[in-house]
């Protein structure tokens, strides 16, 4: 990067806010998707929204690509630098700016850690509902960019349902307000579009969140089944019975063993575990829990434990939340995949994953948000065995294909990023992608905000979209509409 630009950047963020030495840049060469690595040209760590704006103005003037970065826990390569880019870390914009309990609003800077929001409002009996398993480290800015979910999103919705307003530095350096504390503002719902845009439409520098009152009662049930088929059937049965649990999570045998090994949660020795949490008014929760238990029993649950204390609940959840990391105990390497299927397809797709796994000769562990149909197959492999990484990647992609064929999605919460760019065309036809590009071009005509992510191939804004081609799902005869 030119000396003069580095000097300009240093003048904005200070010398302690600029990183340009190769050995220090290495920290930023990847996110949670560690098999992709690119060195950025520089990293800046601004402290204010204004500094972000000044940096982006330089990027705009010089047409330098920039990549926003929160905590770098993203699992799809969203914060992966692009060659020659400036990484804009939001880690130092970490203040909670305002708390308005009567109106259930909190205003934060993007670098605030997800869990800190809940900790901040807990004394008033509130919490911030979207709870990714990474909530103790990931930032609200990253959550906004990915539209992150979590176990409790089944009932409470995803990040997008909890973001009311944003201040955004657009790729041309303009600062805009999208949405706000007051609902239903006139004009397009650009806040709704920005959430989930994976850093490609600009940088959020202030976010107005909705917080939620803690429910009167929470009950957590752990049910043990002999197969994921049975557990999957129970999930569908609970939902179609008109019960909306706060969370339904599933772990198969491998995940159960890994989690148990890691945190000794005392899980039953089962081939499939369901964790069902109900919350709400006490009388309602009590009634519904009886029905959930009856449904689980009908579907073959041979042991059901209702957590009897907050401590017991915490242990049950600890195992679940540790499951990804626990894979390290049973495999040297693993790929975390993220796909969605209709809930009713759970038993069938899990069986098909098993078949794919057997055919590839690699183990696949499943630990996931079952209530949403959001699968997280973990493909276990050993990088040191020649060719195995490739087989693992192939298997992971074949699992995604299954999801699309079942009428689902290639990502439920981790985003497309770099990892699944090419996969977008499995789910969307050219006209669909061209239409999304219209949004991109309105926000970022120069394509400097996290370029070459999300979409299968870069496209110039003036480029004419091609003529209509049948939707890939239509051609495959899978679906008439999506």
């Amino acid at each position: 990067m030119q000396r003069q630009i580095l000097d300009e950047l240093a003048a904005i963020v200070g010398h302690d806010g600029l990183i340009s030495a190769a050995e220090q840049l290495r920290t930023y060469e990847c996110d949670g998707l560690t098999n992709f690595r690119v060195m950025p040209a520089a990293v800046v760590l601004p402290r204010t929204g204004e500094q972000v704006q000044h940096v982006v103005r330089i990027c705009h003037r010089e047409r330098i690509p920039f990549v926003a970065r929160g905590s770098g826990t993203g699992l799809s390569g969203g914060a992966l630098p692009v060659p020659g880019s400036i990484v804009i870390s939001l880690a130092r914009l970490n203040r909670i700016l305002a708390v308005d309990i009567p109106n259930q609003r909190v205003v934060v800077e993007p670098g605030v850690i997800n869990l800190h929001v809940t900790q901040h409002v807990a004394p008033y009996g509130y919490f911030y509902a979207p709870d990714p398993s990474s909530q103790s480290v990931c930032t609200i800015g990253g959550n906004v960019a990915e539209n992150s979910g979590g176990a409790h999103c089944l009932k409470y919705g995803f990040t997008v349902n909890h973001v009311l307003g944003l201040k955004v530095v657009l790729p041309n350096g303009e600062l805009v307000e999208l949405g706000g504390a007051v609902l239903d503002q006139p004009g397009y719902d650009l806040a709704g579009v920005f959430v989930g845009s994976e850093g490609t439409l600009g940088i959020a520098t202030e976010i107005t969140l909705r917080i939620v009152k803690r429910p009167a009662t929470v009950q957590t049930l752990l049910a043990a089944f002999n197969s994921t088929d049975e557990a999957g059937a129970a999930v569908s049965a609970i939902i179609t019975a008109g019960i909306l649990p706060a969370a339904i999570e599933m772990m198969d045998r491998l995940s159960r063993d890994a989690a148990e090994g890691a945190v000794q949660a005392g899980y039953p020795e089962a081939d499939a575990l369901l964790l069902v949490e109900l919350d709400g008014p006490a009388a309602e929760v009590a009634l519904l829990m009886e029905r959930v238990k009856a449904i689980c029993a009908e579907c073959g649950a041979w042991e059901q434990r209702l957590a009897q204390s907050e401590a017991e609940r915490a242990v049950v959840w600890k195992g679940r939340k540790a499951a990804f990391a626990a894979m390290g105990r049973i495999s040297p390497d693993y790929i975390v995949q993220d796909g969605v299927i209709p809930r009713t397809a759970l038993p069938r797709v899990l069986r098909e994953i098993e078949q794919l796994s057997a055919a590839a000769g690699l183990r696949v562990a499943n630990v996931f948000h079952a209530g949403d149909g959001n699968l997280h197959p973990l493909v276990l492999y050993d990088r040191s065995i020649s060719g195995q990484e490739h087989v693992a990647e192939q298997l992971a992609f074949n699992i995604l294909k299954l999801c699309v064929q079942a009428g689902g999605s290639i990502t439920g919460e981790h985003g497309v990023g770099r990892e699944k760019q090419q996969f977008m065309s499995q789910m969307f036809a050219e006209p669909d992608l061209d239409t999304m590009q219209l949004v991109r071009c309105a926000f970022d005509p120069q394509h400097i905000a996290n370029p070459d992510k999300v979409f299968p191939r870069p496209r110039l804004c003036a480029e004419k979209p091609g003529r209509y081609e049948p939707h890939p799902l239509e051609t495959a005869g899978i679906a008439e509409l999506f």
């Binding site: 009567p102 109106n103 259930q104 009996g125 539209n147 919705g157 997008v160 303009e174 999208l178 949405g179 706000g180 504390a181 007051v182 239903d184 503002q185 004009g187 397009y188 719902d189 650009l190 579009v193 959430v195 989930g196 845009s197 569908s236 179609t240 008109g242 008014p281 006490a282 009388a283 309602e284 009634l287 969605v340 209709p342 809930r343 009713t344 948000h369 949403d372 149909g373 959001n374 009428g407 689902g408 999605s409 290639i410 439920g412 981790h414 497309v416 789910m427 969307f428 036809a429 006209p431 669909d432 239409t435 999304m436 219209l438 949004v439 309105a442 979209p465 939707h471 008439e480 999506f482």
Partner: protein
């Protein structure tokens, strides 16, 4: 009309007929006017593909288009700058799929809300939204206007319920976005972009929603706080409690004491407990309460009865500012001798009806009320007004990020053919 113009229209009519079938292109009548602007033709495509082809043709011919569902809210938005062609979605009226065991459904844009709900009810489910005029309003129409009702306090609005969408764009593209599953973050969220866009970016052809079970039982409590301030306080207290109401709204009018309506839904035993907790909150603040079998809706429907010199606005403030807003309305209305009535959802969104002697009084009131509510950080959007008033105002009021919104519009509809002039500055 000039002969060449008539020729032109006849050519268009036959070209459109070539796409949708001659019987589905009709000369427009005065009943098709939008805010007094007379279109020439009404076309009713029979498929998404036909909508796209109609749009491409119309775009090439430089026509101004108004998409139309049930026509119940056609007057929302500014008066059209121009209008040639009404594209009616009335033939796109089918529920395409009700995946009841997955609790999702895909429905065409021209299906009425009540027809949709009727079909969903066969499996004990519903689109958990209570917009205006269910029997005539269509799915496309409620999406384009982002209409909502009392249920939003618990379930949010359409943006929280929509999963996927198919839209036809002016250049003839038919595009899908989102999906059919309840969780999906692949690509930009165009369903949200289209929701509330008043048909200015494309024509919605079909949409997929997440569904909820129909409630087992419903109870409604009507309470009578002494003042609007105590009504507001009560609503804020309920929001701040562990109660889970599916409706919480207050109704207040000139020279009338305010009322707060609270609705609970669910299983009988659980309802009783919630009612009891609510009674305790009321008693602690010595507010009298009565159980009622009335629904929350008549109040709102009455607001919409048409009469001369009436303005109906959608207001939005923070939940704790409802009383301040009402006081502002009162202050402005009294000297102007205006009748007024307001139904406000606890979340802060309300419908305000102002009725006066003449347009001037309404205009004056609107200007001051909007200024006061803007100071509260709120917004006032005029939904219905006499034409004379409408022509002198911007119904939307100030908007945020207007330049960016215009850029979005320019990319989707470069010629500004869709509802020109009716939205926020374009």
């Amino acid at each position: 009309m000039e002969l060449s113009m008539i020729d032109h229209i006849q050519t268009l009519q036959s070209e459109l007929g070539g796409i949708v079938g001659a019987e589905y292109v009709q000369p427009a009548t005065s009943a098709d006017m939008v805010d007094g602007v007379q279109p020439q033709l009404v076309v009713s495509p029979g498929s998404g593909d036909e909508v796209a082809r109609v749009l491409r043709l119309a775009n090439a011919a430089g026509l101004a288009i108004a998409p139309r569902g049930g026509g119940t809210k056609l007057g929302w938005g500014n008066r059209p700058e121009r209008l040639d062609l009404v594209v009616s979605t009335r033939r796109l009226n089918e529920v395409l799929e009700h995946a009841w065991s997955d609790m999702t459904a895909t429905v065409q844009a021209g299906c009425t809300v009540s027809a949709f709900q009727h079909q969903l009810a066969q499996h004990g489910q519903h689109l958990v939204l209570d917009p205006l005029w269910l029997d005539a309003a269509t799915i496309g129409g409620i999406l384009a206007t982002n209409d909502s009702g009392a249920l939003r306090v618990r379930f949010g609005t359409l943006r929280d319920l929509i999963l996927g969408i198919t839209v036809a764009l002016p250049d003839g593209t038919l595009a899908k976005s989102g999906g059919k599953v309840v969780k999906n973050v692949a690509g930009y969220d165009l369903p949200k972009l289209m929701t509330g866009a008043l048909g200015t970016l494309g024509i919605i052809v079909d949409a997929t929603f997440r569904l909820y079970p129909l409630p087992a039982e419903t109870t409604i409590l009507r309470v009578a706080p002494a003042s609007i301030q105590s009504a507001n306080d009560l609503m804020v207290r309920v929001l701040d409690s562990t109660l889970v109401p599916t409706g919480l709204q207050c109704h207040v009018a000139v020279n009338q004491a305010p009322e707060v309506w609270i609705r609970f839904e669910g299983m009988r035993a659980a309802l009783e407990a919630q009612l009891e907790q609510l009674r305790q909150i009321c008693e602690a603040t010595s507010i009298s309460q009565t159980l009622t079998t009335h629904d929350l809706w008549p109040g709102l429907r009455r607001m919409w009865q048409r009469s001369q010199a009436t303005l109906i606005c959608k207001t939005s403030v923070l939940p704790s500012d409802i009383a301040a807003m009402v006081k502002a309305v009162e202050r402005v209305a009294r000297p102007l001798r205006l009748d007024w009535e307001l139904v406000a959802q606890a979340v802060g969104v309300g419908s305000l009806r102002l009725h006066g002697a003449n347009d001037q009084a309404l205009l004056a009131a609107l200007t001051i009320i909007r200024a006061e509510i803007t100071t509260l950080g709120g917004t006032v959007v005029v939904l219905d007004a006499p034409l004379g008033v409408k022509q002198q105002i911007d119904v939307w009021g100030p908007t945020k990020a207007p330049a960016l919104m215009r850029r979005v519009k320019d990319h989707f509809d470069p010629q500004h053919m869709l509802n020109p002039g009716r939205f926020v500055g374009f």
